[in-house]
């Protein structure tokens, strides 16, 4: 097997005296999706932020393509050029049109020519059925469209790895669907991904591996069917049951 895109080893993260992540180790091979599930506050967002170097870790190693990106002398901007990240909300820049949002990083960071960036942006928008929204401001889009634009924006930079943090949790159920299908398409194209989500549909449809995070530790992991339908650990079972009960329909 080739080297994994991402390898996290014994990662530890504290906020003051609170230990938020402890002893987290996992690998993400190329063209696979790893989905983190877990209760609110279990540390999913923090984990993704650590991988993206937005938070500084307190121990452990993070390797991207076998290259240690957690060292003290690493330039985060260089690392982030290889990573894409979409957050739960506040993703798009409200003062820029959809097109400007998408072309900002390519033109300013990768120094792509303006026309080339616009051309690629339109291709992407077209592929995801958002071409006619190119000149709209984000507040004119539905929440689902906003998140799809955020995904397009992050893949316009051709990242090695895409980090998606509960990108549907602020959406109406009706809107979740379109975002889900976008992510499924990306998976089909071979994008390597790490996701945090409450959506079991997501987990089922795109995950190669599901990890259950509980109070900062990975409590259980495995194939989606194994974790979602036959969890071993009582904590996991309890969580899955609660989610099932709350299931809409």
């Amino acid at each position: 097997m080739s080297t994994p895109v991402l390898r996290v080893e014994k990662l530890r993260k504290t906020f003051g005296s609170e230990i938020v992540l402890q002893d987290i180790s996992f690998t993400v091979p190329e063209h696979t999706a790893t989905v983190f599930i877990g209760a609110s506050g279990s540390g999913k967002s923090t984990l993704l932020r650590c991988i993206n170097l937005l938070d500084q870790i307190d121990d452990g190693v993070i390797k991207l393509d076998d290259h240690d990106i957690s060292g003290a002398d690493i330039d985060p901007d260089e690392v982030r050029k290889k990573l894409g990240m979409v957050f739960q909300s506040f993703n798009l820049f409200p003062h820029m049109t959809v097109l400007e949002n998408i072309t900002l990083a390519p033109t300013k960071v990768q120094k792509v020519k303006n026309e080339a960036a616009i051309h690629e942006a339109f291709e992407l928008l077209d592929r995801f059925g958002l071409k006619e929204k190119a000149d709209q401001y984000p507040d004119r889009l539905s929440g689902g469209q906003q998140q799809r634009v955020a995904i397009i924006r992050s893949i316009a930079r051709h990242p090695r790895l895409l980090l998606l943090d509960e990108i549907t949790s602020a959406l109406d159920p009706v809107l979740v669907n379109e975002v889900l299908s976008t992510v499924r398409d990306l998976k089909g194209e071979g994008m390597t991904m790490v996701l945090a989500t409450h959506e079991m549909g997501f987990a089922k449809q795109v995950a190669n591996e599901v990890c259950y995070l509980h109070a900062g530790r990975i409590l259980e992991w495995g194939a989606p069917t194994a974790i979602l339908e036959d969890p071993k650990h009582p904590e996991t079972r309890e969580f899955i049951k609660r989610v099932h009960e709350a299931g809409r329909l």
Partner: protein, 303 residues
Amino acid sequence: MIENQGRRIGDNSDPAPYDFGGAWQPSEIELTRRVARRKRNQRNALIAAGSSAVVIGSLIVVLVTSPGWIALRDTFFKWAYGVEILPKILLGFTTNMTLTVIAGSSVAIIGLMIALIRTSRTPALTPFRFLAMIYVDVFRGIPMLLVILLIGFGVPALQLKGVTNNVLVLGTIAVIITYSAYVAEVIRSGILTIHPSQRAAARSLGLSHFQTLRFVVLPQAIKRVTPPLLNDLVALIKDTGLISILGVTDAVRAAQIQTAKTFNYTPYVMAACVFLAVTIPLTRATDRMLRRTLERQNAQGQA
């Protein structure tokens, strides 16, 4: 328990279900309701208009029938005299406006830089952050008059080579120093209200710290604090006059000179009018902008 009144299921004879047509006529009950409402509103509006007319009217009557009214009118509202000296006040007002333009643009730049230093997070900048904080606190806390005096008269006293002792320049510098402190605070509060996720999103896209500020944080922050910035602009226009203590003639000082000459206060009233001619459009614009911002904000999550 839907009652089958005027509605048929599956009636798709309409070209589109969204089309409500022009067929609707207000019902009887609605018409009476409207009449009742209109009557009540008219009555209330009448009461309000009446009461404010009474208040204003009686104020005017008290004013005009007061024993000193003639004296007051001659001292404060001698229009012929006012018009006569208006050119002098306008000439003085050009000083206010020139100063506002020069000081305003400098303040924008310096205030922005101080705000950026104060909102920076790098530990390396801690000493600068500390200095910026002291700067802002001191110059917000001293009456500007004193700053103008200390700089306008203090710097020339140093007799530094190559340093001007032009009071206009020094006074402008004093104004810039003081207002930069005010504006830095306003911009800083704007920067702080930008949600941290916006920064995170920008950094995630690989934008550098500076690019994040330049393309993401500042455009939003400045837009948000435009109303208070415009307020500061109005205040600046009014405060530029303080440098008249250094011997520069602004609109208020021009009025003061006239008043001192003739012992008549009409020039002050004229000066007030000149200021209003500039400041009122500004405050109206501020107001409109504020309202628009709020409407947008409140539209989100409307229940």
